[in-house]
């Protein structure tokens, strides 16, 4: 099956973001916090994207900031995924009180808006990367749980799972060898969306002053630092905002493609 152009673009851009994030230390022209220019200089040969509110190179900060943003978002979505999908599968396979218990607990957690839980918790805990990742990962695990439980429920009634059960395979075999491979593709698509959600969420937290703390920077924090110039046509806040949007779009494009592939696998009309 041929890859559509949009997915290809998404894949290339996502790859480029990841590359910059991994090799930030080598790529960025200047260190994260070096003051090397005037306030809000326009883009120039020396500073491709201009300088920020106290004269730091925006491109460099964005590359370093991308590393932090992507790392935190990736770590928290991995956590939410590991936890959420495992418990979701478990609930689907075990059924009974395990399913009931976990499902009601998730209902309970989802009834309280996650931004508000994060606000309350972060207002009392010391804010560092570990705490941020844990909170975001745990809050998001509820959503992954629901999806993976639903997907696993569909798969659990398939003949090959029944066959495995009859063969006397253990639950971990069923979860990891039967359900996981067949649930992978909707889950991968969901992973993309969760990752984006995490990027937006960490940006929002940083914007409210409860996310990444200075001198470290993430894109949301950079928008906040530079936003006052926005209404005077200073582009400094625009760049990290665009980076957030572009990353989100790229990952979405890839996720869309994976999702559309899975639905067509189910046998659509045009399939």
């Amino acid at each position: 099956m041929k890859m559509p152009l949009s997915a290809l673009i998404g894949l290339i851009l996502t790859g480029a973001f990841l590359f910059c994030a991994i090799f930030a230390q080598w790529i960025a022209p200047y260190p994260l916090d070096a003051v090397i220019g005037g306030v809000w200089e326009p883009p120039s040969e020396r500073h491709w994207l201009g300088t920020d509110t106290i004269g730091r190179d925006i491109l460099s900060r964005m590359i370093h900031g991308g590393q932090i943003t992507i790392f935190v978002a990736l770590a928290s979505s991995l956590l939410s995924f590991g936890l959420g999908s495992f418990l979701g599968f478990l609930a689907a396979v075990r059924g009974g009180w395990v399913d009931q218990g976990l499902s009601r607990l998730v209902d309970l957690m989802m009834a309280i808006p996650s931004l508000i839980v994060a606000l309350v918790v972060l207002s009392v805990l010391p804010i560092n990367l570990t705490v941020l990742i844990l909170i975001m990962g745990l809050l998001d695990a509820t959503r992954v749980f629901r999806l993976s439980r639903a997907v696993a429920m569909d798969i659990a009634v398939m003949d090959y799972v029944e066959a495995a059960k009859l063969r006397g395979e253990g639950q971990s075999w069923i979860i990891f060898r039967e359900i996981l491979p067949n649930a992978l593709s909707p889950l991968v698509a969901e992973f993309g969306l969760r990752f984006i959600f995490a990027v937006l969420f960490i940006s929002t937290l940083s914007f409210l002053g409860l996310g990444i703390q200075p001198p470290l920077a993430d894109w949301g924090g950079m928008v906040k630092e530079n936003k006052d110039g926005l209404i005077y046509g200073k582009s400094a806040a625009l760049m990290p905002a665009l980076a957030i949007a572009l990353l989100a779009i790229s990952v979405n494009l890839v996720a869309d493609w994976i999702l559309s592939r899975t639905t067509s696998l189910k046998g659509g009309r045009g399939g």
């Binding site: 916090d33 003051v35 509110t53 207002s123 009392v124 804010i127 001198p215 110039g229 209404i231 005077y232």
Partner: protein, 529 residues
């Protein structure tokens, strides 16, 4: 300028012609926009106050947790609100002098232990009752009650006896204090009917504007108090204070005309805002200062050489330029500047001197382990960046500072006045005595530098009762040297109030006492168009 222009100018000042129309016609006559607006502003001043209209201020620093009780007012919005509906015995004016308000005459005995305040006759509260000496005494009494949680508790605690007789309030002090009138100008001490015992949140006072509605953290609406005793202020028919905490939204609201003035303009955008038509930036050098404080009784800061090393290792000018955006002045390691009476300007400025810093550091014999400096984004605006600048300049002198960023929440309970080295700020006090008594007397609760000096304490008490200005100034000078050369205070900068108004606001003047012309900008300014 020709007659037609003068005519236009007058019409605009009186509000017959709109500002926009005036600017348009002026430019048609070949007059630059900048020139025209300057002329308009000076014409407006010359014309005198214009009555009527509703003046609006956009204020940062209000929460939905605020109340109208003046005793607990702490952030900028409640301050500005209480300065409009409230009136105090006295007020500190823009020259740093005491102006009588509800008190008409002030006198004291020879050793400043007993003070008499004659209550102005015919001053009316918003509920129509007349302000009496009993109301004044009841107000002061309420603030002595721990339950009132008054920010002025420390001030009224020093008054041992309060009496009301006829139109005279007599206050007896436990110990002499020549500055008592300055202390009574504290903004918490708004006179309330019956002292506010019945309902401290009523918002009824004797100020120039009556509270029409108050929604905490959102808006306060006022109308003019028709029977206000002083006809020289209170020009607009109504006033509004809108709480706009977001910097961008506040600036945008000023530019779009939703409000006429705003407080706390970020230094970064001053230049940009200045370039906009019809905007005027107002600066006032106040008494507030940003500090790094060391506990002088805790290792390693119990070594004066180490303290001196750190004092020399901070680049004050860089701090003023980068942290205050140039809107401030360098500090000299004592908490007093030229805004205070009895300031000694001859005390030499401490310079940034890496060689001396290194020399003192060597003499201190510090073992080279990192010295931890705690800071938080909310310690003062730019506190994290300031600590980083300090770290870099100290490193150049071979002093290993380690910056530790703490969360804002709990900073004032867990770090400030607890940890031995941290960033903080002081808003300043109207007089030196109050500043020193609050934070530098050996026994003060808020002695956040653990500065304990017998000679200093002795001078503090002596100066308080000293009515001879020259002698008093000499004492304060000696105290300044003690704090500067032996204390635990590193004071790199005094910050300014940076505010902005639209040009149709007339009557603005610089008042360094507090924000927004000591909270009275809405009462003292007027709308020209």
């Amino acid at each position: 300028m020709n007659a037609e222009f003068d005519y236009m100018l007058k019409r605009t000042v009186r509000g017959v012609m709109s500002r926009r129309e005036f600017m348009g016609r002026a430019s048609a006559m070949g007059i630059s926009a900048a020139m025209a607006s300057t002329l308009l502003a000076s014409a407006a001043r010359a014309e005198g106050p214009v009555k009527g209209g509703v003046l609006k201020a956009g204020v940062s620093g209000g929460e939905s947790t605020n109340s109208l009780d003046p005793a607990v007012a702490a952030s900028p919005a409640p301050f500005a609100v209480s300065m409009l509906w409230g009136e105090m015995l006295v007020i500190v004016n823009e020259k740093g002098e005491v102006d009588p308000r509800i008190a008409e005459e002030i006198s004291s005995n020879a050793d400043a232990t007993e003070w008499k305040f004659k209550i102005r006759s015919g001053v009316e509260f918003h509920d129509g009752k007349t302000v009496t000496a009993e109301d004044v005494v009841a107000t002061l009494k309420r603030h002595t009650d721990e339950k009132a949680q008054s920010g002025a508790l420390g001030i009224v605690q020093g008054i041992s006896e309060m009496m009301a007789e006829g139109d005279m309030v007599t206050l007896k002090l436990a110990s002499a204090n020549a500055d008592l009138p300055f202390l009574l100008a504290d903004y918490h001490l708004q006179i309330q009917p019956g002292g506010g015992y019945d309902n401290p949140n009523a918002g009824i006072g004797a100020g120039p504007y009556k509270v029409v509605s108050f929604e905490p953290g959102v808006r306060a609406v006022f109308e003019r108090h028709a029977n206000y005793f002083d006809s020289s202020i209170g020009h607009a028919d109504g006033a509004e204070i809108l709480v706009i905490n977001d910097n961008t939204a506040r600036t945008a609201a000023l530019q779009s005309g939703q409000v006429h003035m705003i407080n706390r303009v970020d230094p970064k955008i001053v230049e940009l805002l200045k370039g906009m038509p019809g905007m005027s930036i107002e600066r006032a050098a106040g008494r507030g200062h940003y500090v790094f404080i060391m506990h002088a009784d805790t290792a390693p800061f119990d070594n004066n050489d180490l303290r001196m090393a750190l004092k020399y290792a901070i680049n004050r000018q860089e701090m003023v330029d980068k942290i205050l955006g140039g809107f401030g002045s360098v500090g000299n390691d004592f908490p007093i500047n030229a805004a205070y009476p009895y300031f000694d300007a001859s005390i030499p400025q401490r310079e940034f001197d890496l060689a001396k810093a290194a020399e003192h550091y060597k003499k201190s014999g510090h073992d080279g382990s990192p010295i931890i400096l705690r800071t938080a984004p909310g310690a003062f605006p730019g506190a994290v960046e300031a600590a980083q600048l300090f770290q870099q300049s100290a490193a150049a002198a071979g002093i290993p500072l380690e910056v530790k960023v703490e969360p804002d929440d709990g900073y004032w309970s867990n770090v400030w006045n607890v940890e031995p080295f941290c960033a903080s700020y002081w808003g300043g006090r109207p007089v030196q005595d109050q500043m020193y008594s609050t934070a530098y007397a050996s026994t003060a609760d808020w002695n956040d530098t653990r500065f304990k000096n017998a000679r200093f304490d002795e001078l503090l008490v002596a100066a308080r009762g000293e009515l001879d200005g020259e002698k008093r100034k000499a004492m304060y000078s000696e105290m300044a040297y003690l704090v500067r050369d032996e204390g635990g205070l590193i004071c790199p900068m005094f910050n300014e109030f940076v505010e902005a108004r639209r040009e149709e606001v007339g009557g603005w003047f610089v008042d360094p006492t507090h924000e927004l012309m000591n909270g009275r900008a809405l009462a003292k300014c007027w709308l020209t168009a």
